[in-house]
């Protein structure tokens, strides 16, 4: 595989990446050495932490931070973070930015490959990655597994509970502010699909052949369906069940024991 191995830096994590980005934005470009000292000042820390180095490495891979070419290189924010108004005070915007970078990294990352695989798993129980060939090719050991679930899936809003069960409720809720209005079911998941693999028909899932059966339009992972139902219950969205809607408009939930579908035909997002 030519994909970058983010999990090879298992200490890398989003909160550290975010404080690094905030420090550079607040104080201006600085050397990586200077940044390390600032992030772990001696009056509060006795020892250095590999988490910072590994986080800076991954942030560099993802193009979120980069060193300039000067004689004394300084770390600067990548173009994705140039608009600090959006992410500086918003953890969710920062997470969405990272998610976007994961999927847009030209060489690809194993985390980007694992996300559609993860969302395709049964949301009811913990994922057993060690018995899944696809996952085992990308997750080398339990340390990397912990890193994947706890340091990436949870902060990216794709899991809760122990981090090992897919539930993209948070990620979808972060995307809702940009999705006000009423959509057909299929259009809605298409819009979500710009940021998130929503079902077996999504380009990322198709590329990885996560499912054996040919997906149908409107087919979503059951974990995504579960997330949509939670959002409906919390009043964030409304799932409209028009009995007379055309079959092609309805949402289909993947991984049902009976292969069933729903007659959810429209989704309404009211951000007011």
């Amino acid at each position: 595989m030519t994909t970058k191995k983010i999990l090879g830096s298992p200490q890398a994590n989003l909160p550290t990446m975010r404080v690094a980005a905030r420090a550079i934005h607040w104080f201006g470009p600085m050397s990586s050495e200077d940044l390390r000292e600032r992030l772990r000042p001696r009056e509060y820390f006795d020892e250095p932490s590999s988490a910072i180095d590994e986080t800076l490495t991954v942030a560099d891979w993802l193009g979120l931070l980069h060193e300039d070419d000067s004689a004394q290189p300084k770390l600067k924010l990548g173009s994705e973070l140039s608009n600090a108004d959006s992410w500086f005070n918003s953890p969710s915007e920062f997470a969405l930015t990272v998610l976007q970078r994961l999927f847009s990294e030209p060489k690809g990352t194993e985390i980007a490959e694992l996300i559609p695989w993860f969302l395709a798993q049964d949301w009811r129980r913990e994922v057993d990655w060690s018995h899944d060939e696809f996952a085992r090719e990308r997750i080398m050991n339990p340390t990397q597994a912990n890193a994947f679930f706890d340091r990436w899936m949870v902060p990216l809003g794709l899991a809760k509970m122990s981090g090992k069960s897919p539930d993209p409720m948070k990620t979808i809720s972060w995307l809702l502010p940009s999705l006000s209005g009423r959509y057909s079911g299929v259009a809605f998941v298409d819009r979500l699909g710009a940021s998130l693999p929503t079902g077996p028909g999504h380009r990322l899932a198709l590329a990885l052949a996560v499912n054996e059966d040919a997906p149908q339009p409107g087919e979503v992972f059951s974990s995504v369906a579960f997330a949509l139902l939670q959002l409906e219950r919390s009043g964030r969205i409304r799932l409209i069940r028009a009995d007379d809607a055309a079959g092609r408009d309805r949402l289909i939930f993947r991984n049902l024991a009976d292969g069933g579908y729903t007659n959810v035909t429209h989704v309404e997002v009211d951000n007011a």
Partner: protein, 988 residues
């Protein structure tokens, strides 16, 4: 309801038709008795072992009757009260084949008084002696009142105690009944006193009951004869008795009054004397007795058999001893043997065991009504038992007797009913054998579900009294009371009424009322109650069938009442793989939600369990890491504890409200029950796989259980999000605690200076306290810490952008105090120290600044220091540096001043204006230190210059005397001027 023919199909009151006590049936009512006969489980315990049927018992007993052995046969039938012992004896009696060899003496349950018993026994035995006994009996009790008989019995009792007490095994007998010259004294002497006698003959005490039991009327059931109790000895407490007593009796009274164990023994002595007292009263001591009657009849029957059947031996009062004695006398060539069968309760049999165990040849035990629903045989038996009684209730006693007299088999009412098919479909039926033919009997108004619940309810009630379900209890509750209640409900269009529910409701349900009533909304409350009872008690929480709805007069819901298929089933609910039930608190919540009592609170333990569970789940869901809050650090833990606790959750108003806690109120609704079920499931299983073989327990029955994960996850996530927001608000709405802590730490560090002026020392002390306080570090790490790997991991990096914001605390002290009291306290103490020291500090600073301006003038400190250090070094080498011992300090001060930062202008004013600014504090402290160094330099320079001048004067012969102040100022200026000259010279 009215669409079924002739409902209700029985007449009330039902106890006129159906008898729970077989003893109440007369001999000519055998057909009624046979109409309800079913095979109850019988265990043989002596003379063999194993399960038997009634026919086996009959066959064994009949074989003894057919034999010619002279040994007595004594068959005991035992069992709990109401189990059917008497029923079995009566059934045997009805089935026995007797010949002229046999004389049957049959004592049914309804014959219990002594007079009735003797009249019946003697009447059946016949003969001269029996006639004499009856005559004697009539003379003794025929015309006496209860009061008169009571008095006679008391006299006889005293006589027995005086002359023939049964004292075996009672160690204290001689204390209670001390031996006198001619008779025993003590207790009987006391009982003979007039006041005591009046007391003992009171109508509420046992002596009177004893008389009633000889003369009185049977009140049914397994009643035994009256027994004396300690309360009958209340006379022992009376004052003034001793004067009328001899000294032995007086001593006995004192002992009895003071020792409880003696009173207990006294009661035993009295009870042992009762039979003898009764026999004395009846004149048996001198005339014929029951014993002589038996002797006579057995002699007359020689070659034959005397057959004795007692439906309840315990009720054969006062002659029990005579009868039991007779069991020991076996037959001979001249004396007929006995063939005895008697029923008696387990407890009574145990009490008699010592006396009769050796005389009993066979022992059968009638077991309680079977309740095991898994055993098909037992279930069928139970259903047949119910069906036969239902049929009897429908047919009526008169009709049963009429058909029996006509030689026709027992009629089955359901066979004549036009609604039979509909009724059987709706309520079920049971086959019974009628004269060799199998007939179906409908279970209406019950069905199998309702019967199962009714038996469970009965069983639960009986167990509360440490009893089991017996045939009699079943008939009383389910047949007699149940059919009466249903009749009332059907005729008043309220079926099933609350009264009916009392019979059938076993207090078990798995769904909330709202779920059960799905599709039945919009009806009035009364109808909803009826539908709810029907669905729970008859349908196991499913929708009522068409037939049940018609029979009970409920509205036909049609298709509209059917629940719609789940719209969005992420995963269809599989069958539960385990059978263990949910934790107790789940059941308690369901019971609470379904309770009719709107004021009822949830059980305290369940309430505690639920709130603890919710706190646990919500806490695990809270994720503060995205907000750069480190959840494992002490301060964030503390803050979370302030906001969330068990009192955050309130079930129907439970829990103590704490202002600081966020409140999540759960109403007494089915939604809450579902939430509790789901939360308990998630907590126990850590997943949502309802069909897992590894599940801790089976999910209770819930409507649309597929939506449970959505409901529970949404609730938990919602609570977690609310708490996350509250934590963030605590940090952002007031002064940022991390920034405040970091700023405080920096100010404190700046305030610590070497050799501080006197008034600055409290500030230094406060500053050192701040710098060493772990709370400062905790606050910074807690609220500006990026936690990497997991919620329990250490802080990997600080959010230095936040720390750099330098919160000015403007107006935020109150919020800081409320949310972060320790930090606020540290801050306040430090500020107070600074404020106290500030006026003097400002003055000193002003002086220092003036001193510097006056003495240094336009020359920079660095330049002065460089010049002075050279001059001082030269003076020291020349031996006139003064004070000599200060040279080292002088040299160090010069070194510091050579690198000193120029103090900002107007430092004193700024210090007053911005006392909390760490830079100002640092600058002020710095200025004081510089001023101190300058003072030292000036002092050294003046002293050295003077020493140099003195040396020069000594060389020139004169001393210039001026005031010290002038010296200082002028010397300083001269010194500086000299230094300048030196510097000029050096440049040149």
């Amino acid at each position: 309801m009215r669409e079924f023919d002739a409902l209700p199909c029985w007449k009330v009151p039902v106890n006129r038709t159906v008898a729970s006590d077989v003893g109440s049936l007369s001999d000519d009512e055998h057909p009624v008795f046979f109409a309800t006969h079913v095979e109850l489980p019988i265990n043989k315990l002596k003379g063999g072992s194993g399960l038997r049927e009634s026919a086996d018992v009959l066959a064994e007993f009949q074989s003894e009757l057919d034999s010619y052995t002279t040994q007595n046969t004594v068959v005991a039938v035992t069992g709990p009260s109401g189990s059917g012992k008497s029923h079995l004896v009566r059934w045997i009696q009805a089935k026995l084949s007797l010949t002229e060899r046999h004389l049957l003496v049959y004592v049914p349950r309804h014959v219990t008084t002594l007079r009735e018993t003797l009249e019946l026994v003697c009447g059946q035995i016949g003969g001269e002696i029996a006639a004499q006994l009856l005559k004697q009996l009539k003379a003794a009790v025929g015309s006496v009142s209860e009061a008169q008989l009571s008095g006679q019995l008391l006299d006889a009792l005293c006589q027995v105690l005086e002359h023939e007490p049964s004292t075996a095994g009672i160690a204290s007998a001689n204390m209670i009944l001390p031996v006198g010259d001619h008779s025993r004294r003590g207790l009987p002497s006391i009982m003979r006193l007039e006041r005591v006698r009046d007391h003992m003959l009171r109508e509420d005490l046992t002596m009177h009951d004893l008389a009633r039991s000889i003369l009185g009327v049977n009140e049914g059931g397994d009643q035994e004869r009256p027994q004396f109790e300690e309360y009958d000895l209340g006379f022992l407490e009376m004052d003034g008795l001793d004067g009328a007593l001899d000294h032995q009796s007086r001593h006995a009274r004192k002992l009895l009054a003071s020792r409880k164990s003696l009173r207990s023994d006294a009661v035993e002595l009295i009870n042992r004397s009762v039979d003898a007292a009764v026999q004395r009263t009846l004149g048996w001591r001198d005339g014929p007795s029951l014993r002589t009657v038996f002797t006579d009849v057995r002699k007359r029957l020689a070659g034959g058999q005397l057959v004795l059947l007692f439906e309840d031996l315990a009720l054969v009062n006062f002659v029990e001893g005579a009868i039991l004695d007779e069991f020991a006398n076996h037959g001979t060539a001249t004396r007929a043997p006995l063939r005895v069968m008697f029923a008696v309760t387990d407890d009574k049999y145990t009490a008699l065991a010592e006396t009769i165990e050796g005389r009993v040849t066979s022992h059968f035990r009638v077991e309680t009504l079977p309740l095991d629903e898994e055993d098909a045989g037992e279930l069928a038996l139970r259903e047949e038992f119910i069906a036969r009684h239902l049929n009897l209730a429908r047919v009526g006693r008169a009709k049963v007797l009429e058909e029996a007299r006509a030689g026709r088999p027992l009629p089955v009412k359901c066979g004549e009913c036009r609604s039979q098919v509909e009724c059987f479909n709706g309520f079920g039926s049971v086959p019974i054998d009628v004269g060799g033919q199998t007939e179906e009997v409908g279970l209406f108004p019950y069905n199998r579900v309702a019967l199962r619940r009714a038996f469970r309810s009965l069983d639960a009630d009986r167990r509360r009294d440490s009893r089991r379900v017996t045939a009699r209890a079943t008939i009383d509750r389910i047949i007699i009371n149940g059919l009466d209640a249903v009749h009332n409900a059907l005729t008043s269009d309220s079926m099933p009424s609350a009264d009916v529910a009392l019979i059938v409701d076993d207090d078990s349900f798995v769904q909330t009322r709202d779920d059960v009533l799905a599709g039945a909304t919009g009806l009035d409350a009364s109808m909803q109650d009826r539908i709810y009872r029907t669905r729970v008690l008859w349908m196991d929480e499913s929708r009522e069938t068409h037939e049940v709805a018609k029979a009970f007069g409920l509205p036909d819901m049609g298709d509209g009442g059917q629940r719609r298929d789940p719209v969005v089933p992420p995963v269809p609910p599989p069958q539960p793989a385990v059978t263990r039930s949910a934790p107790d608190f789940v059941h308690e919540v369901l019971r609470w939600v379904n309770s009719d009592d709107t004021d009822e609170s949830l059980d305290a333990k369940a309430d505690e369990d639920v709130r603890t569970l919710l706190v646990r789940l919500v806490t695990a869901r809270i994720d503060l890491r995205p907000y750069l809050i480190a959840p494992s650090e002490a301060e964030s833990k503390r803050l979370l504890g302030v906001l969330l606790g068990r009192n955050s959750f309130s079930l129907g108003g439970s829990g103590r409200t704490q202002e600081s806690k966020l409140q999540f109120k759960l109403q007494r609704t089915s939604t809450t029950y579902r939430l509790v079920v789901g939360a308990a499931w998630l907590d126990a299983n850590k997943d949502w796989d309802f069909g897992s073989e590894k599940a801790s327990w089976a999910l209770p029955k819930l409507s649309e259980n597929w939506s449970l994960p959505v409901e529970v996850e949404s609730f938990i996530s919602g609570c977690a999000a609310t708490i996350e927001s509250a934590v963030v608000a605590s940090i952002t709405e007031g002064p940022d605690p991390a920034s405040v802590a970091d700023c405080l730490r920096n100010r404190a560090a700046a305030a610590v200076v070497d050799a501080p002026p006197e008034n600055w020392r409290p500030v230094v002390h406060a500053a050192k306290t701040v710098c060493s306080d772990v709370g400062i570090k905790n606050a910074v790490l807690s609220f500006a810490g990026a936690v990497g790997p997991s919620s329990k991991a250490a802080v990997a990096a600080l959010d230095v952008a936040r720390l750099d914001k330098q919160d000015n605390m403007e107006g935020g002290e109150v919020r800081l105090t409320r949310n972060f009291p320790h930090l606020a306290e540290l801050n306040e103490k430090f500020n107070r120290a600074v404020s106290s020291a500030l006026p003097v500090l400002a003055e000193q600073t002003r002086e220092a600044a003036t001193l510097l301006a006056d003495n240094v003038g336009g020359t920079s400190l660095q330049e002065v220091a460089r010049l002075v250090v050279s001059a001082g070094e030269a003076a020291n080498q020349a031996g006139f540096f003064r004070p000599e011992e200060s040279y080292a300090a002088f040299h160090e001060a010069c070194g510091r001043l050579a690198n000193v930062r120029v103090p900002p202008r107007g430092i004193a004013g700024r210090l007053v204006e911005s006392s909390l600014d760490r830079h100002v504090i640092g600058d002020a402290a710095h200025l004081l230190a510089v001023a101190g160094d300058v003072r030292l330099l000036i002092a050294c320079c003046v002293a050295t210059a003077r020493a140099g001048q003195e040396r020069a004067n000594a060389e020139a012969g004169g001393v210039d005397a001026r005031s010290e102040e002038d010296k200082l100022a002028k010397a300083g200026k001269a010194f500086v001027a000299a230094l300048r000259e030196l510097a000029e010279e050096a440049k040149r």
